[in-house]
């Protein structure tokens, strides 16, 4: 395995992540939850470390690492928390951190939409259902995860595969460079409409660009997504159980 031999640091960090996740998720006897979460988070950060970190200045590096730590702590704590309500709140932490990363990737609309949809709607709905369904504390099936050791090992194998593939990948591959150059050459792709004399070239991340991409390139998909939302609404109303008021 040339990858494993060449990247000893990554392999060590992956091993640390396995140990940390196992400490965080294993049975009660060996449980050291906070220590496990900390070890897993910093090991996973070490997995990211060999990659080229984005950003041009110290501020962007700082933002990236803060958001990464938030996402990793949120994710690891979510899957290892005994209380499902705490798990949902940790998921909110991970979501907000991921939204920060969206912002750094020139997607401000998506960051706002994700905060609104996830933190505003999905988390609240999940907490609502959880509090309806689980009114008597932490139950036994939340304390004991199902086969954590094998699951962690298999996840480590999957992660090694992905990370090895990403080590071979370079964002500045010739194809990507050619793509970027072509798009920059396009500049003003269409004739600017009358009235807007100083039409700026479409900039990645501007609402203008995203809207053009959505409603010009992917119009049929937008219509299909709307239909999907309608069908999901009808299906959720049909599937939701009906009971007398006050009971679930």
């Amino acid at each position: 395995m040339p990858f494993l031999a060449d990247n000893l640091f990554t392999v060590l960090m992956l091993f640390g992540a396995v140990v940390g996740l196992w400490l965080a998720m294993a049975q009660r006897r060996f449980q050291a939850k906070r220590l496990g979460v900390a070890i897993a988070t910093f090991s996973l950060l070490g997995v990211i470390l060999p990659f080229d970190t984005p950003g041009v200045g110290a501020v962007e590096h700082f933002q990236f690492w803060v958001c990464s730590i938030g996402a990793l702590v949120g994710g690891v704590s979510m899957i290892s928390s005994r209380d499902p309500v705490h798990g949902a709140l940790w998921f909110a932490v991970a979501t907000i951190s991921v939204c920060g990363l969206f912002l750094m990737q020139a997607a401000p609309f998506l960051a706002a939409a994700t905060v609104i949809v996830y933190a505003g709607a999905i988390i609240v709905t999940f907490l609502f259902v959880m509090m309806l369904a689980q009114q008597n504390g932490v139950s036994a099936y939340d304390r004991n995860p199902r086969g954590p050791t094998m699951a962690i090992l298999m996840s480590a194998v999957v992660l090694v595969t992905m990370i090895a593939a990403l080590h071979d990948f370079h964002g500045d591959s010739p194809m990507a460079l050619a793509d970027r150059a072509a798009r920059a050459e396009e500049g003003e792709p269409t004739a600017p409409p009358e009235g807007s004399a100083a039409e700026t070239p479409p900039k990645l991340g501007a609402m203008h660009t995203l809207g053009r991409s959505l409603f010009v390139d992917h119009l049929l998909a937008v219509e299909l997504a709307g239909t999907l939302l309608l069908i999901a609404t009808v299906g959720a109303i049909l599937l939701a159980p009906r009971r007398a008021t006050g009971t679930l």
Partner: protein
């Protein structure tokens, strides 16, 4: 746009794997759904990074669709979770591990039978799943007690008993 985005790809992969790990190990139905949402976050990060690498905003458009599908999935999934909770009075997913098509025995019983039969010539052929059979529905299920109008149209065998005995001729309808 001249900085690299490989770290975003790595973080997306890690978030995806963490979500998958949680989906496999957690036994709470709601937390399993939340873990799929974490996997979707990883996918969104990867889509955005690739879109940024190629200077195209299709990645952002795809992420909008991921968001849409996540909202639909949460709605339908929570309705299903509530429906399952109403039957089992628990959010434990292990209670549903024996959920299967009608006409099929539990696999453990088959293995025990195979182990106990010392006859060399004894051979058990695998049984195909009987497709298209209406599952037995409790009376308090969302569609419980509803009659199915087109029962004769599919040419099902007359001897097959649909549903639990005594329930097959119940014509009470839920009032919605």
């Amino acid at each position: 746009m001249n900085h690299s985005h490989d770290a975003y790809l790595a973080l997306g992969a890690i978030l995806f794997v963490i979500g998958g790990l949680g989906f496999v190990t957690r036994r709470n139905l709601i937390l399993m759904l939340l873990c799929t949402e974490l996997m979707l976050h990883g996918v969104s990060l990867t889509l955005l990074a690739f879109g940024h690498i190629h200077g195209s905003s299709s990645g952002q458009a795809f992420t909008v669709f991921v968001l849409t599908v996540a909202a639909c999935e949460a709605g339908i999934g929570l309705a299903l979770v509530l429906s399952l909770y109403q039957r089992a009075k628990s959010l434990d997913v292990s209670l549903w591990s024996s959920l299967r098509d009608p006409g099929i025995d539990l696999p453990e019983e088959e293995f025990e039978e195979l182990a106990s039969s010392d006859d060399e010539a004894y051979q058990e052929f695998p049984a195909l799943t009987t497709a298209g059979v209406r599952p037995t529905i409790d009376a308090d299920a969302p569609l419980g007690g509803q009659t199915w109008p087109d029962e004769q149209d599919y040419g099902r065998p007359e001897s097959f008993v649909y549903g639990p005995p005594g329930k097959s001729d119940s014509t009470q309808k839920t009032d919605y």
